[in-house]
Symmetry: C2
């Protein structure tokens, strides 16, 4: 939530398609970054002019050098700074004087080192603002554009990657070198490749918006170590995914490093965690990957092949064992094994040997040659009950790997369904893998990766195609009351609203509360209990007591005047012992609902994503099983419904084992109301309804306890 993305977009056209470049701070020492970057641009067939700028050198790699950028007689579209961080400010100032509008600052020694580095970064940001310069970096590897119109390798990567339609954006420069090397060996090409470093000016969001309209880019890959503006990231991702149909794959590291943040409540200890990030990325249509390899496994499926229209997979294999492994993998990814039509089976019966297994997985048997793969694959692809095919091969002595690879590619080209392959082994099958890779058939070492890639492609397809979700507006909410209660607390310097006040706020937002009243004396308590009707619950109300149970300030199941009197005294007594200094505002008398299911609803402000709504069953389900779901607000009706369904214990609400179904619709509404409340009143830092009691279908739900932190 730091700042909104800049509109209009920063000047990225000159970053990727400059006609002239100046490399500031280059030198003649081969093998150093300042030298190599200049030479990489020069030698990698850049479609424009590159000028070396060096205070000390007369020329670099055969090209006349200039002492300062202002000495260059022609206009400069893009400046690349490789000076030490100590003089980058001066260099950038000169760029501004020269009228340069775009820069890439490779140099390290800024924010990432702390102290003086922070100051240096502030300085270059100020200079950039003064001259309206857009820049990438500092502390990055540079920029690559494989488009033949530019063919720019403004990076210290050893080699230019091949052309392709995958764009890669990385917060880590060092990881880029590994990624480029990995991709080259697998014939994976890139459209744009950017190491954006400290993103002091141009952010990953700016880059994403640029790629949204880049005709050369079909798939966007993102490596992040921190998400500074989750809101903008989600907005950009959703737009790019749904409007341009470009999938975004994210590798976010630092999954385990949270911890620390002290949590006063269940919501607090869960939200802000990696699970919120998981949920938020998925909510915006991004595909989160856990390893670099998984990211590329998914990316090639999305880049090379049509999207699956459904989850029915056929497997064609020449080996039973791998067929079983692939079946396991397919089912574990929630995909279905396709059932072949009678027609397909009859084709197989006619054309495959009697010993072949013609059920899915189709085993064409160890001595299969290309003709059998053609029949089996073609048969599966023409079957309307098949949404995609996995082709598996092991290198047995009769296996004509090369021919099979060619035949597989030829057969696939006749249909509009995704086919992925796994030629198992390494050296022997290399010739086949090579053919597959060159002809854009995604190849996987493991059936597990193949199934995961298919599931990712299916997720993207379904997300892209879903109708937009309307966000419910509630006209019956009473914002004035909420405002007043929040203001009162703020003025009184309180950061915690006790149950009575929290409940009033929630009631103002149409979230149902139980009949209740605050008793100041035993007489009032008895009168209230009689009016509400037994059984009732009694609870202490005090600003100083957050956990009422811990001080034995709660009495449940009070069924008579007699019990009510005793309970009132007991609470007073217990609290006096446990917390003698607490100012007691009264004892809350509340209707007790005996047969509802208890759930938790919460709001938490995540440092990256803003207000997050949490849903789960109470107690151990949250604490031990972490069986909760999250959505970043606003939450619409479909998302609210999905939130409830995706917890594992959903069956407890839906009516398992002869129990009645609970009123799930009323919970869906509460979630949406809570989402509006959280967005409208950002002072609410944390909110817990714990529990919300959900009655049987059609009978609504009630807040049994709630608290709000400011």
């Amino acid at each position: 939530m730091t700042e909104l993305p800049s509109f209009p977009p920063k000047d990225l056209e000159h970053v990727f398609y400059p006609k002239s470049i100046a490399v500031l701070g280059t030198n003649r020492v081969v093998g150093t970054v300042p030298h190599d970057i200049f030479v990489n641009i020069l030698r990698d067939n850049f479609q424009g002019i590159v000028y070396p700028v060096s205070p000390k050198e007369r020329f670099v790699s055969g090209v006349r050098a200039y002492k300062y950028i202002i000495d260059i007689p022609d206009p400069v579209d893009l400046a690349i700074l490789v000076f030490p961080s100590t003089v980058c400010n001066l260099a950038l100032e000169q760029c501004g004087q020269k009228g340069v509008k775009s820069a890439v600052i490779i140099s390290a020694g800024f924010r990432e080192i702390g102290g003086i580095g922070l100051q240096r970064e502030a300085e270059i940001k100020a200079i950039a603002q003064k001259y309206n310069i857009s820049f990438i970096g500092p502390n990055c590897l540079g920029v690559i554009n494989t488009d033949p119109l530019s063919h720019l390798n403004a990076s210290f990567a050893r080699k230019m990657p091949q052309e392709g339609d995958i764009a890669f954006l990385s917060q880590s420069g060092a990881l880029c070198t590994a990624v480029l090397d990995y991709a080259r060996a697998k014939h994976i090409g890139f459209s744009k490749f950017v190491s954006f470093g400290n993103k002091a000016n141009i952010s990953e969001i700016d880059l994403m918006y640029y790629l949204k309209d880049d005709p050369k880019t079909k798939v966007i890959l993102l490596y992040l170590e921190e998400i500074s503006d989750g809101d903008a990231l989600m907005k950009a991702a959703h737009e790019i995914t749904t409007e341009s149909g470009k999938p975004i794959l994210v590798l976010k590291s630092g999954r385990t490093s949270e911890g620390a943040a002290a949590a006063a409540s269940h919501t607090g200890s869960l939200a802000g965690s990696d699970e919120v990030c998981d949920a938020a990325l998925r909510q915006a249509g991004m595909i989160r990957c856990t390893t670099i390899e998984e990211m590329f496994n998914n990316a090639i499926a999305l880049s090379y092949q049509p999207l699956p229209r459904g989850k029915r997979v056929a497997i064609v294999t020449n080996a039973g064992g791998p067929g079983v492994l692939a079946t396991d993998a397919t089912v574990k990814q929630q995909l279905n094994m396709a059932k072949f039509s009678e027609e397909t089976l009859s084709i197989y019966r006619k054309t495959l040997p009697a010993t072949a297994n013609i059920k899915n997985p189709v085993d064409v048997i160890g001595d299969a040659r290309a003709d059998r793969y053609k029949v089996a694959l073609g048969g599966a692809l023409q079957d309307p009950g098949v949404d995609g095919v996995f082709v598996i091969l092991t290198p047995q002595s009769m296996t004509d790997i090369e021919n099979i690879a060619e035949e597989v590619c030829d057969t696939i080209s006749k249909y509009d369904k995704p086919v992925y392959a796994s030629f198992m082994g390494e050296t022997d099958v290399a010739v086949g893998i090579n053919i597959l890779q060159r002809r854009n058939i995604p190849h996987y070492i493991l059936p597990e990766s193949m199934a995961r890639a298919f599931a990712s492609a299916l997720f993207f397809k379904q997300y892209r195609d879903q109708t937009p979700e309307p966000i419910a507006q509630f006209t019956d909410v009473d914002d004035a009351t909420v405002r007043r209660l929040l203001d009162d607390a703020r003025i009184a310097g309180r950061t915690y609203l006790p149950e009575t006040e929290s409940t009033k706020i929630l009631a103002s937002y149409g979230i149902p509360v139980l009949p209740s009243g605050l008793a100041m004396s035993k007489q009032e308590a008895l009168a209230l209990a009689a009016r509400i009707g037994y059984p009732v619950v009694m609870k202490v109300v005090s600003d100083e007591i957050v956990h009422k149970f811990d001080v034995q300030g709660v009495m449940l199941g009070i069924r008579s005047d007699n019990e009510a009197g005793e309970a009132y005294d007991a609470i007073r007594r217990n609290v006096k012992v446990a917390k003698p200094d607490a100012a007691i505002k009264g004892i809350l008398i509340e209707k007790m609902v005996e047969h509802g299911e208890e759930v938790i609803l919460g709001v938490k402000r995540d440092s990256s994503f803003g207000p997050v709504i949490m849903f789960g069953l109470g107690g151990i389900f949250v604490e031990v099983f972490k069986d909760v779901s999250f959505r970043v607000a606003p939450v619409g009706p479909r998302s609210a419904s999905e939130m409830i369904k995706e917890i594992r214990a959903y069956s407890m609400l839906a009516g398992a084992r002869g129990k009645k179904a609970r009123d799930i619709r009323s919970v869906e509404e509460c979630i949406q109301r809570l989402s509006v409340l959280a967005l409208t009143h950002p002072e609410i830092k944390e909110l817990d309804i714990n529990p919300l009691i959900v009655n049987d279908e059609g009978s609504g739900c009630f807040i049994a306890d709630a608290r709000i932190m400011l």
Copy 2:
């Protein structure tokens, strides 16, 4: 549980170290299995004589052929059959007449095709028994022994693998070809390599016992599609792991194909599943892997490097991003990030540049050369607080990959701690990876694989080193009563023992039951309730009623004579409506325990592993979260304690959030008693104690309901 392993072991010496071999059914058609196997033996430098036997050919590949094996003038140690399955019986008969004691039957067309194949397999088994022939197969790829003393490639694998100390046993032949190809590319060597096919005679268990004493083998890899004798597998694995210190890695496919088996109870639907297999393999010290790649990733760690002595890992990297990814991966595997000693930090401060991060993960910075890796790695290895090191490299422009690889290897050789490496990328880093692989440093593409391999090695180390667990003997059990109750049911043709009888059996085994009695009339019910003391529970007892709750045959929380009378009538009435034909044996009156924690204990006979004990919390914890633990009987005190601790909801028993701890020791004892009961009385097919009510620490536990299926 089919049959016990054969002792003394079958004649495997002649399978792996024959001095003379006859290949029966070979031919001259290059590229066919019968020809290739003979030629593979002949050309792969076999240390003995190989004879072609072919009814049609005078010679094969330059070697004089014999029409029948009996024509060979010299003794034959090993016969390899590549005849069609239709004549294998005749060929094996002739082997017997020739006095051959060992064979490998490559031919397919036996049990795996069903029908006539089953008969053929029975025939060859009979012939083998008649002549005392041990054989591998049928339906397999063959046998490889890389030991220079034999150097036998009796398989149709394209190439002989290199020598190494990993043995690979596979039920799938086709998978072997992929594995050999994969391993060759990674310089992974093998000691023995066996495709055992239908294991009609020599089983994987026989092979494992052979490898136990094979000085050439250090690590055993096993690919299984079915576990026919889980008991023998566990026994063999435990012996090999603990006595010979050889780790066993298992890839078991068919993880999702269970289903179907109708389940009358919770235990039934869970045991028999893949989770039981998981638990059983771990219980016997085996390391279960989910992919071929994971199996080899773990195998090379175990084969190449010393075992870790603890879980404290240091990471050395030249790139921040991958350092973060590796930290995530390490923590996710339940390993700890090592904290360096003050000495180590001071070494680092002196020798590494100021910009380097000297905390774990140690970042030697992008321009690091071999000298910095030496210092960082050596520093970590000498630190007594470090149990192992992960070395990470990305190929940046200054990175002297080759030198770093050599330096890493040299440094490692001076210490007795495990070091694994990940040189990220592919082509550029290949030179370094090659050095690492040749010098036996395990190399991984992903930090995640590295961390998993370390965790596997640690698991093996801890399993191998643990003291043997005594199995408790209980002298206070009353087997006569159990026998009588089981016999009565059997004689009466009943397969289900109702609560009263099940509880008696459990009581005879010293498992505590609640005070209770069976009432035949309302008067008796009231008298019993008064004697037991309110509150009580009432339950219908009938052989025809398995699920008492479903017929409303249970009343809880009965607190007075009045309520008891009403409950008695209600149960009678409800059961009459729901199940009018059920013969009611009476109404059980039982003490109600109100504040205990409910758990489930169960026994189930798994088709592979025999009697399995299950433990979990009841209801939704079992149904939705599958939060249960399994152990194959016998279960000793340590395993019983582990079973309880490993469920996720353990904190509910251990005393979370101010609750009192429950009497876990009494549950441990129940588990052990149940284990003895299951082993002593195999007629018990299934047993459920649901729930067992566990009181506060020191106050024991009680059976609240139980049933037994025969």
